[in-house]
């Protein structure tokens, strides 16, 4: 009797400890966001006020409007969204085509080509960025979005996509394909009408992974883009940081606008997002 009592006491203490540790760490993760939102509504002089106020005494909504006066924020947004969309589309299309071929079509040189692609994944992006810069300058693509769209599709991200899709297609039963072939279906139709629909979960994960990676991409835009209105969100915001100095209220309004929509989507499709991002575990 006494022993079980002790046991349950220890168990509830353990539970309390777990909640405390998790609560504290979650708080450390959440405070920056709360502080960001709070500051985004503050009067400039309130920002420096001591003691710190989480809920501002007055809300200054024009902080948000003023961001648009200082930077072409809407263009940062538009550029980020449309570039990410094209990169996702391109990656999913080309990686699934190649992934299907590597998984299912026995063509000559298949394994060798696949191995070369895979081993190239460990090339740090910084190595190829320098010649790429010269190449893009040569063909006049500096300060255009073309490198930002093409490089991720055909770079390490695309190769990773091939790997993921190949793993997925390998698990599909061969009989499905063989039956279709005997019926005289072409490879293209087998890919489009049989394999792709089956691979939907894999495609969804790849989509999310590619989107998140691209949405946050910073190095390439920094190298290739000079014109303000052509910048993506991360680049535009990082340069804005240098300019505003201590005008934190403006900077925080901008980061709120940059973060909140994605976080809402994240809360809606959490499971897929966590799976998609956890795929980086396979990447290196």
């Amino acid at each position: 009797m006494k022993a079980t009592h002790n046991g349950s006491l220890r168990k509830s203490l353990g539970t309390a400890g777990t909640y405390t540790v998790l609560g504290l760490i979650s708080l450390v993760m959440m405070v920056p966001f709360l502080w960001m939102i709070s500051t985004s509504f503050k009067e400039p002089q309130q920002v420096f006020k001591y003691p710190p106020q989480l809920i501002p005494s007055t809300f200054r909504f024009q902080n948000y409007a003023e961001v648009f006066d200082r930077i072409p924020f809407q263009w940062f947004y538009f550029n980020s969204v449309y570039i990410a969309a094209l990169v996702v589309g391109g990656t999913v299309l080309f990686a699934s085509l190649a992934g299907y071929a590597f998984a299912r079509i026995p063509f000559a040189g298949r394994n060798a080509v696949f191995l070369i692609l895979l081993s190239a994944m460990m090339i740090p992006h910084e190595v190829t960025a320098i010649p790429m810069f010269l190449f893009m300058r040569e063909i006049g693509w500096i300060d255009t979005h073309l490198p930002l769209i093409l490089l991720p599709i055909f770079g390490a991200g695309g190769v990773f996509g091939i790997f993921v899709m190949r793993q997925f297609f390998i698990t599909v039963p061969k009989e499905l394909e063989e039956a279709a072939m005997i019926d005289g279906c072409s490879r293209l139709r087998i890919y489009g009408q049989i394999m792709l629909p089956i691979a939907k979960p894999g495609l969804a994960t790849l989509t999310i992974f590619t989107f998140v990676t691209n949405w946050n991409e910073f190095f390439d835009p920094l190298i290739f883009i000079n014109t303000r209105s052509l910048m993506t969100l991360p680049l535009g915001l990082s340069l804005f940081t240098d300019e505003v100095g201590t005008a934190w209220h403006h900077l925080m309004s901008a980061t709120v606008m940059a973060t909140v929509p994605l976080l809402i989507i994240f809360f809606l499709a959490q499971r897929q997002f966590i799976e998609g991002v956890a795929m980086t575990g396979l990447k290196e």
Partner: protein
Amino acid sequence: MSDKRKKRMRGPLAREAQIYGWLFVSPMVLGFTLLLLFPMGLALYMSFTDWPLLGSHSYIGIDNYRDIMGDSLFWQVLGNTVYFTVGLVPLNIVLALLLALLLSRSMRGIGLFRTAIFVPVMTSLVVWSIVWKYMFATDSGLINQLLAVFNINGPAWLYDTKLAMPAVIVTSVLKNVGLNMVLFIAALQQVPASLYEAAKLDGASRTKSFFNVTLPMITPTIFLTVVMTVIGSLKVFGQIFVMTQGGPSNSTKVLVYYIWEKAFKLFQLGYASSLAFVLFFVVLVLTLVQWQLRKRWVFNESDA
């Protein structure tokens, strides 16, 4: 039947496989050759040249690499990169493992914590760094304002040669710990429950079953995660760019930042390429070690 099928595969079907196989992989193979393989080769050549942005370049053999060896800033930068890595990796792994263990217990509201800890992973690195630059700000930053409540005069975190790097490390750990946590949770779920039951029957305490069951079972995942986090740390750039720009007095200047500066600010493209190859070499060695060990583990697993 199956013989007949095999025979048919050698005929027109085989030719069809050649055509469609190459057709399907050709966009990727072409793009890859043009945008990755070709630049890789050019980068290697560039690393043996003096290559300015304008004007002609000249082949100088291994001079760049020799210069790197004698470049005191390079050694400082390498030291900073190692400092960042050594500071970040253990913190990140231990915290991620602890969180994964706590979160794999079935308790009410556990999903909420998991979400909270994963949200920074979803946040753009630049945004996260901007917000933390603000948190660490000397006068208006929340950290110093909270310290002031206890009558502590907070330091100028990001402008102090001793404190800037730790501040960047903490920022980076908080940003990415959720990712490793998710990987560990997945690994913990793979451990068969029967092993825990057996350990319990043998009278093992929770601590004991952690060290004798859990830890050995997830060692491969831990190792892969460590290597991955090390490689990621060696390439750190965004948070440095946003928070400190490599300062104060070069105390947070890391390898990729140095490469970027040499290539795209000073336009010493040949020298920057050699630096990039130094990075590539380190990553290559780490990756090979990882492959080797992964093979050994797979062997051990099938052996057992």
